[in-house]
Symmetry: C2
């Protein structure tokens, strides 16, 4: 198999990994231009996660920040009595690991094989002094995460099962478009169980709502995890 993927080249890391990184277009590191990106790159370390492996756990002390370069991650909270709630899915370009306090208030688990850029927290924060535009960008990204969380609050507080599922598909489509991927049809990297948990429903209800959306032709399925949205483009974007 012939590949130009830098992951297969052991010494590529010293050879402008970031310069050729397509995720940089949307990630925080995109605010650094080509002549300075190598300085940031020297702070970064690759971290590979297989499916179900964690980047960190709720309660861990925050020592690193992460950029997702490839794959998908779910973040979730556990209560003392063992209840679990997925509070978000993260994709390439997303920044992960900030907290308002010393330790994480949620866990981060890969839902498929995933590659992260790992930055030492203090190291990156010291970098803010020379390149304040990084902090500006991260502030903007955190505000975006907040906005997504607020949308989710609306969804959980005011939407029916069917609406939640459809909105979830529309959000996924929007996310794909943001990454420059095909936004319809979309591939879902997460299980029914994860979707159900995220939407505050059960897998049975997801299955039923899915059948409903299929039967009235709102969506069409190819395989188990690929969904074609039969909806006006304005709603998709």
């Amino acid at each position: 198999m012939i590949t130009s993927n830098y992951n297969t080249l052991p010494n590529f890391k010293k050879c402008n990994k970031c310069v050729n990184c397509n995720v940089r277009l949307i990630a925080f590191c995109g605010v650094i231009d080509h002549q300075d990106i190598n300085k940031l790159e020297s702070l970064s370390k690759d971290k590979n996660l297989k499916r179900q492996e964690h980047a960190f756990f709720q309660g861990d002390k925050v020592v690193n920040y992460y950029n997702i370069r490839k794959g998908s991650v779910k973040i979730y909270k556990l209560s003392k009595d063992g209840r679990k709630q997925i509070i978000g899915f993260l994709f390439p370009g997303d920044f992960m690991g900030m907290s308002h306090e010393e330790s994480f208030s949620y866990s981060a688990e890969a839902i498929e094989d995933t590659v992260l850029c790992q930055f030492n927290k203090v190291g990156l924060e010291n970098f803010f002094i020379k390149f304040p535009e990084i902090e500006d960008k991260i502030l903007n990204l955190v505000n975006y995460e907040l906005s997504l969380a607020q949308d989710q609050i609306f969804l959980l507080g005011k939407c029916s099962a069917r609406e939640r599922l459809l909105q979830f598909f529309l959000n996924m489509s929007k996310q794909r478009k943001k990454m420059g991927w095909v936004s319809n049809p979309i591939h879902l990297p997460m299980s029914r169980s994860d979707i159900a948990n995220f939407l505050g429903l059960t897998i049975e209800t997801i299955s039923r709502s899915l059948s409903e959306l299929k039967s009235d032709n709102t969506i069409k399925m190819v395989g188990t995890n690929d969904i074609l949205l039969n909806i006006h483009e304005d709603l998709i974007s």
Copy 2:
């Protein structure tokens, strides 16, 4: 009535308003020390809101940021079909008005008489250059808001009506303690209707859950809006 409240003194604004501000202890402006605070103060303008008046509306262009100095604000989202969801309550010391895009994704309405410090967005952002610690603090505050939103997602996704209400009281108590106020009993500045909406429930369910909490002595009520929590201190803080 004799009062030393600076709001009653017309020329106090030019006389170290911020220096004596008790909210500063928890607000972003607390990172600026006494000899520099007057520079920030010159950027600030008071804005008074009566109950039900708005600081801004969903869709408005973002031109100002706000610090809440006194009172309480609810922030809420409206969907196209008219459904409303309160996504948070804000209190003295809270920073308000940032957005990841040009315009607001939610509205902000005073639920009691409220005083805001209004900062021009661009003016304050230019201030970041001289005082980067302000941006650090604001980033921390936004991360805190995100964390609260994630807690709310858990609450809406996994908690029963009774649990939601009790958790709401505990959160209010925690908020009071953060402000240095009495954390038990607590006074609720918002209506049953607002509580119900925020918790993804109806007023009838709030009323029923409230009666339940009263009858098993988990809480005790003084008047309609003051609540005494009969719960171990560890859970309150």
